[in-house]
C-alpha cells in the first residue's frame, strides 16, 4: 500500500505537472526549431509571438464571456483558438513581409536575422502591452477538475490523492493531437517532404523546383498554429502575463537545442526532457521516502536537490551540459 501511495504521490506532484509543462514547452520548441531549420535563424521573438497569439485568444474569450457564449464544461478559450491562430499567422506574415524577407532575399548571415528578431521582439512586446497591458489575466472557465483528490481517495482508499486538472488533460490531449497531425504532414505529404528537403539542402531543393515562397508561407502557418496553441494552453494552465511569456522563451530554446535544433521530433522530446528535469530536480522527496523507507530511516530534511527558485537554472544547466558533450543535441540536429 505504501508503495502505491508513493507512486501516486510522484504522479500527482511530478509526472502529471511535468507532462503538462513539457507539452507546452514542446509546442514552443517545435516552433523554434522549424523557424531555425527552414528560415535559418534563432528567433528571439518566439516568446512574444506566442504571447501575441494568446493575447488575441484572451481578448476574444473576454468578448465571448460578455456575450454569454460558453463551451459547456470546457474552457471558452478553446473556441477562440482558431480565430487567434488566424490573427497570429496574419501578424507573422506581416512581419515576415516587411522585416524578415528583406534579409532572406539578401541571404544575410543568420546572426543578422537573429538581431532583427530582437527588434521584432521589442515591437511585439510594445504592441501587446499597449493593447492588453502588462497585468496578470486569468481567462480559464468551465469545469476545473477532472479528478479531485478526495474523490480519488474515496475511490481507491489510498492516503494520497490524485488530482487531474482539466487544463492538464486538455494540454496533453491537444498537444498529442496537434503534434501528430504536424508530423503526419511533415513526413507523409508532398508539401511536408518538400519542407524537410528545403531545410536539409536549400540549393538542391530550389533545383528540384520547390518554390521557396510557398515553403516560407507554410512554415509561418505551422509556426502560427504551434505558437498560438502552445501559448493558450500555457495561459489556461497558469495565467496569461506578457512578461512570463517572454521568460518562457528561455526554457523553450533550451528544449529546442537539447533536442537537436532543426529536428522537430527532437524538439518535441526536448520539451519533456527540460520539464521533467526542472520538476524532478526541484521536487522535495521527503514524503516519498517516508512511504518507502522503514520509520527509523525516515529523512528529516526535505530531500530536495535544489530549491524551486532554481527551476530555470536547472534547464539552462542541462543545456550547457548538452552543448559541452553533444553539441548537436541529444537527438541529433544540424551540426553546429
Amino acid at each position: 500500500m505504501d508503495f502505491i501511495n508513493a507512486i501516486v504521490l510522484l504522479l500527482n506532484y511530478t509526472v502529471i505537472p511535468a507532462l503538462t509543462y513539457g507539452s507546452q514547452l514542446a509546442l514552443g520548441a517545435i516552433f523554434v526549431t522549424l523557424v531555425y531549420g527552414i528560415l535559418r535563424f534563432a528567433n528571439f521573438a518566439t516568446g512574444d509571438m506566442m504571447s501575441f497569439g494568446t493575447m488575441v485568444a484572451v481578448l476574444i474569450t473576454f468578448y465571448f464571456q460578455s456575450l454569454g457564449i460558453s463551451f459547456g464544461f470546457l474552457p471558452t478559450a478553446l473556441l477562440t483558438i482558431p480565430p487567434a491562430i488566424l490573427a497570429m499567422i496574419f501578424y507573422m506574415l506581416f512581419i515576415d513581409k516587411f522585416v524578415f524577407s528583406y534579409y532572406r532575399v539578401k541571404k544575410s548571415p543568420p546572426v543578422q536575422l537573429a538581431m532583427v528578431s530582437v527588434g521584432v521582439m521589442f515591437v511585439t512586446q510594445a504592441i501587446i502591452r499597449i493593447i492588453i497591458g502588462p497585468f496578470d489575466r486569468r481567462f480559464f472557465d468551465g469545469e476545473k477538475f477532472i479528478l479531485k483528490a478526495n474523490e480519488f481517495r474515496e475511490m481507491t482508499g489510498l492516503n494520497e490523492g490524485l488530482t487531474i486538472k482539466s487544463t492538464q488533460a486538455i494540454t496533453i490531449f491537444v498537444t498529442v493531437l496537434v503534434v501528430s497531425i504536424m508530423f503526419w504532414f511533415l513526413n507523409r505529404t508532398k508539401t511536408g517532404t518538400s519542407m524537410r528537403a528545403y531545410s536539409d539542402n536549400e540549393d538542391l531543393a530550389l533545383l528540384s523546383g520547390i518554390d521557396p515562397k510557398k515553403v516560407v508561407l507554410i512554415t509561418w502557418i505551422i509556426a502560427g498554429i504551434l505558437a498560438t496553441i502552445g501559448g493558450v494552453l500555457y495561459g489556461l494552465d497558469k495565467s496569461y502575463r506578457p512578461f512570463v511569456y517572454f521568460n518562457n522563451m528561455l526554457p523553450i530554446f533550451a528544449a529546442a537545442i537539447v533536442g537537436g535544433i532543426g529536428n522537430p521530433f527532437g524538439a518535441f522530446l526536448g520539451g519533456y526532457v527540460i520539464a521533467f528535469a526542472e520538476i524532478l530536480v526541484t521536487y522535495a522527496y521527503k514524503k516519498f521516502f517516508a512511504y518507502l523507507l522503514p520509520e527509523f530511516m525516515e529523512p528529516d530534511s526535505l530531500m530536495q536537490l535544489l530549491s524551486t527558485d532554481y527551476k530555470f537554472a536547472v534547464s539552462f544547466s542541462i543545456l550547457v551540459i548538452v552543448l559541452l558533450f553533444r553539441p548537436s543535441g541529444i537527438f541529433k540536429g544540424k551540426t553546429l
Partner: protein
C-alpha cells in the same frame, strides 16, 4: 575628415538634447539621464569590443552587470560579524570544498584521459561533493539568514569605499567570463547568443536566491557613495555661499528677507542634488574617457588588427597561425570585465542593489540595440548609441504622451481609447526602440557612426 565632422555633430546634438531636458524638464532629470548615458556607454564599449572587434555575440550582458553590482555590495557593506560567527566557517569550508572539488575533477580528467571510467568518477565526485556541500552549507546558510533578517541576514562585505568595487566588479565578471568562455566560445554565433543569455539567467538567479550572499530579492540599500550627500551639502556653509554667489543676481531682486531665505533654501536643495549628480558624472566621465583611450589604442595596435583579421576571416587567420580560440577567450573576458565595471558603477549611482531588477530586456537587449544603433566596431559609435538609445528609452514616455494628446485632441477626456493610450504611454519605449533598431538595421546596417574602412 567627413567622419570627424559627423562624430562632432552627432555628439553636439546629443548634448543639446540633454541640455534641452534640463531647461524644459529639470536639471536633476537631465543629469540623471546623463549619468545613465555614461554608464550605458561603458556597457556598450564592453559589448562593442566583443561584437565589433571579434564578432562574438554576448547576450549575457545582464549577468555581468549583476556581477558588478554584487561586487559593489561585497566591497562596500561592512562585514556582519554576527553572521560570520553564525555560519561563516561553514561557508568557508564549503568554498574550500568547491575549489578542491574542481581541482580533483581536473586531475581526474587529465589522468584518466582514455578511460571509460572517467565519466563515472567525475559524476561520483560531483554527486558526493554536492551532497557534502549541501550538508555543511545548509545549516550555515540557515544560521546566517536568521541573523536580523529585516536588516542583514547575510555575510556583508569588506566595508571598503565603493569605488574599489569598480575594479572588483570587473574582476568578478572577468572570472566568470573565463569559465563561460571556456564552455561556450566554440559554438556557432547564434548558439553562443542563446547559451550566454541562459548562463546570465543562471548567474542572476543565484544572486537572487542565495540570500546569505547579498540578501537576494530583499535588496541591499544604503550603499555609501563616493561623493558627498545632499543633506551634508545643505548643511555646509561653503556650499550655501556658493549657491548664493551663483544666484546673486536673482536673489538681489528679492527685497523681503524671509522670502529671500526661502528662495535660497529651495535653491540650495535643488543645487545639492545637481551637485551630487555632477560629481558622479565627473567620475563616470573619467571612466568612459579612460576606457575610450585604451580601447582606441587597442583598436589601432597590431593586436587590434589581428582581431579584425580574425573577425573578418576566421579560417584564414587560423591558417596563418593565429590562435583564434585564445584570442576570442581573451576578448570575451575583456569585454565582460568592462560590463562588470559598468554594473558596479550603476549600483554606485543608485546606492542600492536590487537583484530582482536584472531582466534581460533592460540589461541585455537594450544594450545590444545601443551597440547596433551606434555603430559596430567603432567606439565613438558605440558610446553615441548608448547615449541616443538611453535618451529615447527614458524620454519615450513623455514624447509618446505628447503625440497621444496631439492626435486625440479632438476626443473627449472620457474617451476609452484615449484613456487607454495615455495609460499605456510607458510602453511606447519598447515600440520606439524596436522600430529604431529595425530601421537602422535595414537602412544603415553599419550604425550611425560606422567603422572606418581604411585604418592606417
Amino acid at each position: 575628415m567627413m567622419q570627424h565632422k559627423n562624430i562632432i555633430a552627432a555628439y553636439s546634438i546629443m548634448i543639446l538634447l540633454i541640455i534641452a531636458v534640463g531647461v524644459l524638464q529639470s536639471w536633476t532629470i537631465a543629469l540623471t539621464i546623463l549619468n545613465y548615458c555614461l554608464i550605458s556607454a561603458v556597457m556598450t564599449i564592453g559589448a562593442n569590443i566583443q561584437w565589433g572587434y571579434a564578432g562574438l555575440i554576448n547576450f549575457g550582458i545582464m549577468g555581468y552587470t549583476a556581477l558588478g553590482g554584487l561586487a559593489a555590495v561585497l566591497v562596500n557593506v561592512p562585514p556582519v560579524k554576527e553572521a560570520w560567527k553564525a555560519g561563516g566557517s561553514g561557508m568557508v569550508v564549503s568554498l574550500i570544498l568547491i575549489i578542491s572539488g574542481v581541482y580533483i575533477i581536473r586531475t581526474v580528467l587529465r589522468k584518466f584521459e582514455n578511460s571509460k571510467k572517467r565519466n563515472y568518477i567525475v559524476a561520483a565526485i560531483i554527486i558526493i561533493g554536492f551532497v557534502t556541500i549541501r550538508y555543511i552549507s545548509g545549516p550555515a546558510i540557515e544560521n546566517i539568514e536568521a541573523v536580523d533578517p529585516a536588516k542583514t541576514g547575510f555575510l556583508g562585505g569588506l566595508g571598503l569605499p565603493i569605488i574599489f568595487s569598480w575594479i572588483v566588479g570587473g574582476l568578478f565578471a572577468a572570472g566568470i567570463a573565463f569559465i563561460v568562455g571556456k564552455i561556450a566560445l566554440g559554438l556557432r554565433a547564434d548558439y553562443l547568443a542563446i547559451a550566454t543569455l541562459l548562463i546570465a539567467e543562471i548567474i542572476v538567479s543565484i544572486i537572487k536566491h542565495e540570500d546569505w550572499l547579498a540578501r537576494g530579492v530583499k535588496n541591499v540599500i544604503g550603499l555609501k557613495r563616493p561623493v558627498p550627500y545632499e543633506v551634508d551639502l545643505q548643511g555646509s556653509t561653503w556650499f550655501i555661499d556658493l549657491v548664493e554667489k551663483f544666484h546673486s543676481k536673482k536673489l538681489d531682486l528679492i527685497t523681503s528677507l524671509s522670502e529671500r531665505q526661502d528662495v535660497l533654501n529651495q535653491l540650495v536643495i535643488d543645487a545639492s542634488s545637481v551637485y551630487v549628480k555632477l560629481c558622479l558624472a565627473g567620475l563616470f566621465l573619467t571612466v568612459v574617457i579612460i576606457l575610450l583611450i585604451l580601447t582606441q589604442k587597442a583598436l589601432y595596435s597590431p593586436w587590434g588588427r589581428k582581431m579584425r583579421a580574425i573577425r573578418d576571416n576566421e579560417v584564414a587567420a587560423n591558417a596563418m597561425g593565429k590562435n583564434v580560440v585564445k584570442e576570442h577567450l581573451l576578448i570575451f573576458i575583456l569585454g565582460s570585465a568592462i560590463v562588470g565595471i559598468a554594473g558596479a558603477m550603476m549600483v554606485t549611482n543608485d546606492g542600492l542593489f536590487t537583484p530582482g531588477s536584472y531582466r534581460p530586456m533592460r540589461y541585455t537587449f537594450v544594450i545590444w540595440v545601443m551597440v547596433i544603433v551606434g555603430g559596430t566596431g567603432n567606439n565613438f559609435g558605440a558610446i553615441l548609441g548608448g547615449f541616443v538609445v538611453w535618451f529615447l528609452w527614458v524620454e519615450a514616455a513623455p514624447i509618446a504622451l505628447f503625440f497621444i494628446n496631439f492626435f486625440t485632441a479632438h476626443l473627449d477626456e472620457t474617451n476609452a481609447v484615449k484613456q487607454h493610450l495615455i495609460q499605456s504611454a510607458a510602453y511606447f519605449r519598447f515600440l520606439l526602440v524596436g522600430i529604431g533598431l529595425l530601421i537602422i538595421m535595414r537602412y544603415r546596417p553599419k550604425g550611425l557612426i560606422p567603422e572606418k574602412i581604411n585604418i592606417k
